[in-house]
Symmetry: C2
Subunit: 403 residues, 2 copies
């Protein structure tokens, strides 16, 4: 019973820290996310030590990320995503290749053998959709073309990153790369995404009236929660991130007539769970490992490489949308967040990464996650206010006339 | 990562099982709770084994109970509770004494020595506010006088049960009963409840406009969540059930102007979390231990004693409210739920209970939880429909006239 009280206490501390951190960040005109991550660093086991990371906290954090991406999916129409499909694919691919090459070269120049260098390079690759998605949502720009490209590219990116990770761990494990098994993994992932978006979208459109059946009060909500959890589980079983499944779930549920009431309801669940995701992400940084001068220099170099490679890789691929939009897309893909942390943990387990390299990669993941949101905010708000999205001609309102 | 996928899968299975179980129960005209508990028994580790109980599941279950009682608190006004204070106290006390005496006598007659018999008796005592509260909420009768008596008595009951448990574990541990330390525990508990209800109520009434300040979108919600988690933690640190703290938190938040929008928002969080509470409760029953004829007989006797002692103890104490109301209060106090299970677990750990007695007590806790809800439902719905709560004279509507 007393253990239960301690776990409950840790949830309380994390939740309160998130609110305070978010509040401070917003007063400093920064996105709330930044403050939540920073609060996590501060109260985490490596700094003040006010919370120990326990499994329930990790699961609440994962659920937070799942519902975050589910709600982002709810605000995304499959049709809109398809329109930017070609650019998003280009951005996703180019945003994987460049960081992998840059990261590999850096590791190789630092004296790692080729297989290990490839593992290090993998940590440069993945994008954390969660952090950017939250910022886009906070800014209310999820409907923008750049946001759609970022979200589409994040799905492609996750599939490629997963393949890459499978490849480097296989090489690291001593076995050669099994092309057939990699192709199977690829086919599974692409098949999953295609099946869910194509079939799911149609099924949901048709079953929309069914969700209205007054079986019990929360029917549309509980059905949506089942779809969300179910696809998150399915995605993580075929090796994709659970949040990709949740994003797709949100996208197909968005085809129902209940999407607007569901959006509001999911935001309530998010208000409770999402803070756990960001605070726990921050709490994983071992700031003590970064005390030496050489480590600080290493963090600077690695972070710079990570930012530039992603910015250039994604930005160039999106150049057809205009320079400013390309810049927004590039910045939006910069955060490595929890995905970089996962790769680093695998590297530590496999004894490829030293304790210091581990801390450096995690610091890079966090720094990219903290740098990108304010820049993104500045890029969006630095624009001339949009002329009501050019809908004036659609609804027959003219600029002249009534003042 | 794969472990994470398995935990996510277990959440998915539990959530889906709860929906199916709840649905079936409602089609059989039973409260959804019954179906959710039964689903837990079925898929739990002792029957089908589709889910293993892991710590994240336990924490989600506890959070479910916390938010359930928080929402019940939101529908309860401190003033209303004070009106039934005298009867509720009587019901609480009498509903602890009689089951303790009956349980002790049975254990003593079954051959337990006095200290062990007292431990067994303690398992007969506690009431699970969660199960009854859910049923009252489902039936929409939380505003009724009987419901208020039940909720008030549940708070008294929990304080007394905690003292009793402290006493029997002390006696069991060989040491005598330390009257001073018991008094300290009592003073803490009563002081906590008094402080929260009296001071909290006033503070919340005054800070209501503050919660409207547009600091960030979910401010009233996040502030309420902080109060809810905070008081749940505080309650469990002084040895009360976390849900008692959550109930009090709901009651003081109900004094703000935002109570109605908060009620709706908390219901969304409940739709996600409460199913975990009931399914996990059900999953803890080791049905295999109950296979033998003697065990079945023992379950029957123990359950009968538990039902009768609570029914008589609480019913007699509430007789001043009329016979039917007294019956409703008595039935409402019958479920032992997770509280009985906690006492049984402590008894097993302390080697006071055999594996069989443990399973018997748990079966009793579950049976009382499954028997009471349908009876409660029948008692409430068997009444003549209320004449619109006699508000007609308040709003100036007359029965005659416009048809």
């Amino acid at each position: 019973m007393h253990h239960g009280a301690e776990v409950l206490l840790s949830l309380f501390v994390v939740f309160v820290a998130a609110q305070i951190g978010g509040e401070i960040a917003q007063r400093l005109k920064m996105p709330a996310v930044v403050g939540e991550i920073a609060a996590g660093c501060l109260i985490g086991p490596y700094a003040l030590g006010w919370v120990k990371l326990n499994e329930p906290l990790e699961v609440l954090a994962e659920l937070g990320a799942v519902f975050l991406l589910f709600s982002v999916g709810l605000e995304t129409r499959a049709g809109d995503l398809r329109k930017v499909g070609r650019v998003a694919t280009l951005v996703g691919v180019s945003g994987v290749v460049l960081p992998f090459v840059f990261g590999g070269l850096w590791a190789w120049a630092s004296g790692f053998e080729t297989p290990k260098a490839m593992f290090v390079a993998a940590a440069f690759v993945a994008t954390s959709a969660g952090i950017t998605a939250r910022v886009l949502q906070e800014l209310g720009v999820l409907g923008r073309m750049e946001s759609r490209i970022i979200l589409g590219a994040a799905v492609i990116d996750d599939i490629l990153a997963m393949l890459l990770l499978g490849m480097v761990t296989a090489i690291q494990g001593g076995g050669g790369v099994n092309v057939v098994s990699l192709l199977v993994v690829l086919a599974q992932a692409v098949g999953f995404v295609a099946l869910v978006t194509l079939v799911g979208t149609r099924v949901m459109k048709k079953s929309s009236p069914l969700m209205d059946a007054p079986i019990h009060p929360h029917s549309p909500l509980t059905l949506s929660l089942i779809i969300c959890l179910g696809l998150a589980v399915a995605a993580s079983f075929i090796g994709l991130a659970a949040i990709i499944g949740a994003f797709l779930a949100g996208m197909i549920v968005a085809e129902t007539q209940q999407r607007h009431s569901l959006e509001r309801q999911v935001q309530v669940i998010m208000a409770f769970l999402v803070p756990f995701f960001f605070v726990v992400t921050g709490a994983k940084v071992d700031v003590r490992q970064l005390g030496s001068v050489s480590a600080v220099g290493m963090v600077a170099v690695v972070t710079l490489l990570a930012v530039v490679s992603k910015l250039v890789g994604c930005g160039l691929a999106a150049l057809s949308t205009g320079r400013r939009s390309a810049l927004i897309v590039g910045v939006g893909m910069v955060p490595r967040g929890e995905v970089g942390i996962i790769v680093a943990s695998l590297g530590l387990q496999a004894a490829v990464f030293s304790e210091t390299l581990y801390a450096v990669i995690i610091a890079m993941s966090l720094l990219t996650s903290v740098i990108a949101p304010p820049v993104l905010k500045a890029l969006f708000s630095g624009e001339k206010p949009e002329p009501h999205e050019d809908v004036s001609h659609l609804i027959g309102v003219e600029e002249t006339g009534h003042s």
